[in-house]
Each structure stands twice: as structure tokens, then as C-alpha cells.
Amino acid sequence: MTLSPATKSAIVEAAAAHGGPKAAMLEALKLVQQAEGYVSDANLAEAALTLGVTTAEIDSLATFYSQIFRSPVGETVILLCDGLSCYLGGADAVRDAVMQKLGIGFGETTPDGKFTLINICCVGGCDRAPAALVGPDRTLVGPLSADDLTALIGGAP
């Protein structure tokens, strides 16, 4: 897997917009992730090369930020809030229901590669507790209910 010319040129542009290669490392990681879904070792190295920074430097960010994925994730990423306001709104029941339905725990991906479930707090939707963020736009969904998981997983069987 290599980065597309479009991703590479976007990385170069980011360096100009962010005040230099180093300051653009996070943006580069996000561009890689946007294009490839996650940041593989090979793509990490290529992003570093494109920016002219070391792999170690860029990986020091990749391993720190929770929303940079260093291993493959499913087509749809579900960020389920486990904060207090969501707990008070019944988040534990929603968590149990979605885990049962998908057969995975936090940090895992369904075998068919469709969903990845991640716990997070707080998603700024405490007025819609229990809340979650779904998909590439991190769309806020809630209040969720354990009986109806459509907002989280659509019509998934």
C-alpha cells in the first residue's frame, strides 16, 4: 500500500498551511487516515518521508492521539460515550445491547469489517444522553435506546 499522489500533495500543502513539516505531522496523519482508513507502518513511513521528518517523530503523535488509528478499523466507526451524563441516561444498557448485537467489545471490529466500537468521553452531547458519534462525519446521535440500535448500526442484522 502506498499513498496516492493526491494524499501526498495534500500533505505537502498542509506543511505550508501549518507552519512547517513538524507542525503538520498530525494533519498528515489525518490525511492518511482519511484516505486509507487507518495509519499502517508503511504509510506512516511514507508520510514522514513526504514531510521530511523521522518516522519516530510522527509516530510519537500517532501513538498519543486516541483518534489516530494504527490498526485497521471497520467501515463505520462508532464512538460510544461512557461519560457520567450518558451513564445517567442509560448508556450501560445501550453498550451491552450493541456489544451483544455486534458480538464485539470496545476496541474491536466485527469479523465482516463493518463496525468498530470505541468508548469515548465526553462527546459533547450530554443533552442527548446516551449519545454517540457515528461514521466519517462523527455525526452525533442520541438519545439512544437499547431496544432500537438503528441510529448506531442502521439495519445491521
Binding site: Q67, L84, L88, V123, G124, D127, A129
Partner: protein
């Protein structure tokens, strides 16, 4: 609108106004006034007189912060100076900055331009948390519109003042919101807190004078310039100026954001949120988000501002009022916070990195009825070790221990009851 100057113009569906529409409904009136009629010092004085306190959590006086920045800038000499907008909102229970960025990006931009003029910044960088994608999109688009209208860029409105503004999208991690970590994040360093002093006003982003302000703080600025410091102070019921965007969540009938006079009481806010849901009674509340101490019914009439809440042993924090009803187990509630803070420790200080996961485990065990008597002693020990603010490299650890500390004080009997394997209040 005049009672809710901060949010009165937000659309119900939170979609942002176009630049033209925003101007039609009174936007960008303060900026020309600021640039043509007032010196930067006069704006700082106005914000000082308005008694605006920072809405990021600590409640630092904004006018004082800006004055320190001007002093730092004078010493630093020629070169770049920065205003950073803190849009990292992640504190449990807080959902106010999301609205201000998503629905009212131009208000924030106008506030940021005026602030930049006042402190002498050459560039504004708005750090927006990764999870607020709609906010980053709205802000990026609004910045482009303001640039196209000549409100950003060179020689703004013929004033000779130059300024650029951009968005820095983050990628998760609560610690990024700590101001020195935020500066490190923008530089492309691992976002862990830095030693202070030097303070950002003296040496911040890339070693240059820097001011970091919260989204809500800056969003309040245009109205102060337009309508004056006296008007702004008059909005408040206490000595701290303005309205406050309170977020009410937890066990209330209608969780919501409420813009109300600074100093509004928890009783009123809970009432406006429909009261305690399902006709239950109040057990306790946190007035300002996850890192603030619990209060109970006796404190329902305390004016919710920085000074009054401090006096009763809690804090206004982010104004996120989290309500616990009488079926909520406080051990479980504190445990949820502990998990969050343990996960978000940046790892620099041992008591934070290793202490918080330990606390979280102890609380989980207690909640599950597996706690031992000495575990409660251990919890007290961790609270004592964390000590007051200032013992660790940043305030994450002290904040993390705050709900536990006040919980042990107020609900010691509930903790003890868990040792016998039962929860006297639990929701089950």
C-alpha cells in the same frame, strides 16, 4: 436576544448563518467600532471593567490575561504573536462550546479578531477537537467568508491591523485542552503540559507571546464592545459579568443548554430543565463538570458563579451542571469519572499516570461489591497524595480527584455500605 446575547441568534437546527445573513442580524457591528474608535488598551480596559472571567474552567479574569499578554509582547519585541482559541471541549458534562462553534462561528471569529487586536496578536489559531467535525467545518467556512469580506487579512477595514486565522483540528485526548499542551499540540509536539513559568504570555507558541482563551470567553467579546462594560455587568446577578452558558444534564427531565445571568442558581436551572426526571428527588449535583466537587440540596440556592461556588467548596468549572437523583449510586458516578480521567492522563506524573487507574479499579471493585475495608483507606490516601492543585504538572490530576474527595466526604456511609456488598441507593 438582549437577555441571551451569546446564543440568542443561534438557529434551532444549529446550522450556521451565512456571512450576509449574519451581518443582517447585527453581526460584525462591534469590529469596526473596535478598530476605529478604540485603542487596544481601551479594549483591554473595557473587558476588565466588564468583569469577564474566562469560561474555560479556571475563571481567570480575561482583562488581566490580556494585559499580561501586552506586557509580554512589549518585552518580546518584534515578531509573531498568537491568540489560540481553545475549542477542545472534552470535560465530562460540557457541551456549550460545540453550539458556539457550530451555530455561531462568526460571533466567535469577531470576538477573536477584537481580542487579537487588543492583545496585539498577528495570528489566530483555533484548535477544535477532532470529534466536533461540524464545528471545524463551520468555522473553516466562516473564516474564509470573513477573509473574503476583508475582515481578516491585511489592513483590516483600513485600520492598518493585519491578522490571519486558521483552524487546527485535533485528534482526540482531553489533555490537549490544557493550555500549554494545546500550544505543544499546535507546534506538532506530543501534547503534554509544559512547565510554567514561563507563562504563555511571555513565551508560548514557538516561543512567542501567546494568549489562550476559551470559545465562550471570546464569543462574549463583541457584545461587550458594542454595548459597553456596564451593560455586560448588568446582565449578571453577581460581581462577575455577563450571562453564562450553563449545560444541564443527568437526571433532569429535559437536559439542555441554558444561557442565563451569571449567578443563576442550580435550583432555577434544574427547574428550567424540567426538574428531576420521573418525579425523583435530588441526591447531589456537580455544578461545573466532572472535575468539580459535589453539592447537595442545601446548596441549591448558591449563585452559580466562580466566587460563590468556590466559597461552598466546589467550582463553576465549565458551568456543566450534572444532576444525580436519589437512585444514583455515587460510587458508580465517581467511578465513571475516574475511568475517564485515568484514560486521559498524559503519563508525565507518576501519581496521575499510575494513581488514577488504581483509583478507578478500586471504585469498580467497590461498585461491584468486591471492595475491601482497606480500599477505602487507599482511596483516601490517593486523595491526600494528589493534594491541592499545584502538586502535579498540570491540574488534570487534582481535578480528577475532586469528585472522589467530595464524594468520600459527603457519601462516606454509602461507600462503607458497599463493603457489605449492597448499595443503599443504587438504581437496580
Amino acid at each position: 436576544m438582549s437577555e441571551t446575547p451569546l446564543t440568542g441568534r443561534a438557529r434551532a437546527d444549529r446550522s450556521p448563518h451565512s456571512f450576509a445573513k449574519w451581518q443582517r442580524i447585527g453581526g460584525y457591528q462591534a469590529l469596526p467600532q473596535a478598530l476605529s474608535r478604540h485603542s487596544p488598551d481601551a479594549i483591554v480596559a473595557m473587558v476588565e471593567a466588564a468583569a469577564l472571567r474566562g469560561r474555560g474552567g479556571a475563571g481567570f479574569l480575561t482583562g488581566t490575561k490580556w494585559r499580561l499578554m501586552r506586557e509580554g509582547a512589549a518585552k518580546a519585541g518584534a515578531g509573531a504573536r498568537y491568540l489560540c482559541v481553545n475549542g477542545d471541549e472534552t470535560e465530562p458534562g460540557s457541551f456549550k462550546d460545540r453550539l458556539l462553534m457550530e451555530a455561531l462561528p462568526h460571533q466567535l471569529i469577531e470576538g477573536a479578531i477584537i481580542a487579537a487586536y487588543a492583545v496585539g496578536a498577528t495570528e489566530v489559531i483555533a484548535l477544535v477537537r477532532d470529534e466536533y467535525r461540524a464545528a471545524a467545518v463551520a468555522l473553516t467556512r466562516a473564516i474564509a467568508e470573513a477573509e473574503a469580506a476583508g475582515l481578516l487579512g491585511r489592513n483590516i477595514l483600513g485600520s492598518g491591523f493585519d491578522l490571519t486565522m486558521r483552524v487546527h483540528a485535533s485528534a482526540g485526548r482531553y489533555i490537549v485542552g490544557e493550555e500549554t499542551a494545546l500550544i505543544a499540540a499546535i507546534e506538532g509536539e506530543r501534547p503534554v503540559p509544559r512547565h510554567r513559568p514561563p507563562y504563555p504570555a511571555v513565551s508560548g507558541l514557538w516561543g512567542r507571546p501567546t494568549t489562550v482563551n476559551n470559545v465562550e470567553t471570546l464569543s462574549a467579546v463583541p457584545a461587550i464592545v458594542e454595548r459597553g462594560a456596564d451593560w455586560f455587568r448588568g446582565l449578571s446577578r453577581t460581581d462577575e459579568g455577563g450571562t453564562k452558558l450553563y449545560g444541564v444534564s443527568g437526571c433532569v427531565a429535559r437536559p439542555q443548554l441554558i444561557e442565563a445571568p451569571m449567578g443563576t442558581t442550580a435550583r432555577e436551572l434544574i427547574e428550567r430543565a424540567g426538574g428531576i426526571r420521573d418525579g425523583r428527588a435530588l441526591l447531589a449535583f456537580q455544578p461545573g463538570g466532572g472535575a468539580t466537587g459535589f453539592l447537595e440540596a442545601a446548596e441549591l440556592d448558591v449563585p452559580m458563579d466562580f466566587a460563590h461556588l468556590k466559597k461552598v467548596g466546589s467550582a463553576l468549572g465549565t458551568g456543566a451542571l450534572i444532576v444525580l437523583d436519589d437512585r444514583t449510586c455515587p460510587v458508580a458516578a465517581i467511578g465513571r469519572h475516574a475511568r475517564f480521567y485515568a484514560r486521559e492522563s498524559c503519563g508525565l506524573c507518576t501519581p496521575c499516570r499510575d494513581g488514577l487507574p488504581w483509583v478507578s479499579k478500586l471504585l469498580d471493585a467497590l461498585e461491584g461489591g468486591q471492595g475491601r475495608r482497606e480500599d477505602i483507606e487507599l482511596l483516601h490516601m490517593h486523595v491526600d497524595l494528589a493534594g491541592p492543585s499545584g502538586r502535579s504538572f498540570c491540574d488534570l490530576m487534582a481535578g480528577a480527584m475532586t469528585p472522589l474527595k467530595s464524594g468520600l466526604q459527603r457519601f462516606g456511609d454509602v461507600f462503607a455500605a458497599h463493603l457489605d456488598g449492597h448499595c443503599p441507593v443504587g438504581r437496580a
